[in-house]
Symmetry: C3
Subunit: 246 residues, 3 copies
């Protein structure tokens, strides 16, 4: 265990084996950090508010939280969480394993996130979002939740497995981004989408099957489903399953 | 008074009664913090630059500044300021009471802000902006000020009372967002708007009266003016006034 | 040399004359800071990762890095670097002199940047970007690099000398923003542009010569090339050169 002497660690926090904690980081009371976790400097883990109800935050095994990040209590992360810098994650975020959250991303809490999800830098995940497995969300994407802001009616966005939302797109409340969809950059998605299709524009319109997009790596193979060519860091059984399909 | 031992507090700063200051926070020279204020950790209050002229920053009574926030000297905030994390607020920001500023928001200074204004996360308020009372601005909205960037001609945006600007909209320089307007998500507002209307698109066009939008809470009442149904945290006399109108 | 006692400075770092380092800042091993540099508080300079290969970061003479900023090792900055707060700059960023990087900007590394470039707040510069001299990029602009995300094919954006990209525009992978172009706010640039033209919309279309835009300062002179009227901070020989042209 390597805990920097300037770090401030609550005696109530439960800290596993082989945990590293950086300079000027604060670990508050209701925190469970599992084994082989690295938390860099200037972080706060376990911030409380009136919605977190004093519940624990759990950081799964083999996680890596980069510097200047803030996590509230009352959330649970599976093994292998990896973050960039200055990530903010509010209470009641329930995430599966191998979540990646890029620099400056802001997860507003009260949301569900599956396994192997990737948020690139500076994504904004509104409350009540439900995100499946193997999803990709790119920089400056906003998942909204209020159909007539400001109001007390929160209707989160649903993003299904393998869907991809490209940079600076906005998804309106209650909209479903269906399995395997691709939302192109700078789009505004105003209504539900169909599986495996490409949507583009503001408002976004259905263009074609995402699989019609060809790889620009010289092979001209279909670029979607992306898991058939982009496999770094995914579990072997998933990669094999997709490769077994023609 | 609860000041964390790791905080760095200038002897020149004036700090009121019942003030709490968190770990690793720095309070610089020209700072007046009134009573019952909480400033979390990792903040800087009273940063100086060549435009702040050594003038005080005043943080009103009953304010709450969350961690990792940066405020320059030379600004004045009324009572009840509340911020998220990592807020940056430059010099010569003059704000009324009960301002809320969300996580990652960047107020560029040299602007006026009325009472009970709400900035959600990650808004960008350009210099020379003039914002009325009871305004709402949602994530990734940018209020611009330079009609032909880069130049020395700064023409700020005006946002009137009760107006709402939804997520990822841009307002061009010198444009007036009129009283009670709603700008829908992902719009680009290029010219002045009329009171109480809904605008949408890039460039934004006038769609209809905002009051034609119905609440999705089952009642189908008009969603605008929003103050008629969303009243949490607003002063009683304002709520009663709006309820007295049919 | 004024180094705050709470700063953490590696003995391996090479620090020049008249360098100032603020409270709670960390300077890691592979860091070369030249003369007359000021680094404010809460910064990290020289963060390593598996792509930075233990190479030095070099911060040129007369630079000023504002608080809460993070720089990775393996990058080189010419003299006169100036940053806002909370800037993140990854490895293998090679920049000329007088670069300015605004608050919250995120430079993803593996990119080339010329002299006298200005990034305003919250810009996102994707890997493989190539940026010329005297370029301006405004808030919430994203330079992308993946033509079919996610993939291993990274094709960076090229931005040529004197080009200007206004707020919240997205530039798609492999696109060239030509010399002296102006991309107006909230545009999506999907294909290469021609010198000195104005582009606008989503997708962006060619509108006219940028020089047809007139200054709103009362003179009605052409607003572009901007260097003919906006000269603060640029080298005298460049200003004279442009003034010598009619």
């Amino acid at each position: 265990m390597k805990i920097h002497p300037s770090a401030i660690i609550s005696e109530k926090a439960e800290i596993g084996k082989n945990v590293e904690i950086g300079q000027f980081t604060t670990i508050y009371d209701n925190v469970i950090i599992e084994d082989n976790v690295k938390i860099e400097g200037y972080c706060e883990i376990g911030v409380s508010n009136n919605l977190s109800e004093g519940k624990n935050i759990v950081i799964g095994n083999n996680s890596y939280i980069r510097s200047h990040s803030i996590f509230y209590e009352g959330s649970i992360f599976g093994d292998g969480l990896i973050t960039g810098h200055r990530v903010t994650v509010r209470e009641k975020t329930f995430a599966g394993k191998n979540l990646q959250i890029g620099t400056l991303s802001d997860i507003q809490g009260h949301c569900e996130i599956g396994d192997y999800v990737r948020f690139h830098s500076n994504v904004h995940i509104g409350q009540k979002s439900k995100i499946g497995h193997y999803v990709w969300i790119f920089p400056y994407v906003v998942l909204t939740n209020d159909p007539h802001p400001p109001s007390n009616t929160l209707q989160g966005v649903t993003v299904e497995d393998y869907a991809v939302i490209a940079t600076q797109s906005v998804v309106l409340p209650n909209v479903k981004i269906a399995k395997g969809c691709l939302i192109s950059a700078h789009s505004l998605v105003t209504s539900n989408t169909e599986d495996n299709m490409l949507y583009s524009g503001s408002p976004a319109r259905k263009i074609c099957l995402a699989s019609k997009i060809r790889l620009k790596d010289g092979t001209r193979r279909p670029a979607y489903p992306w898991i058939k060519h982009f496999q770094r860091g995914y579990p072997e059984e998933i990669v094999k399953f997709w490769e077994s399909l023609t």
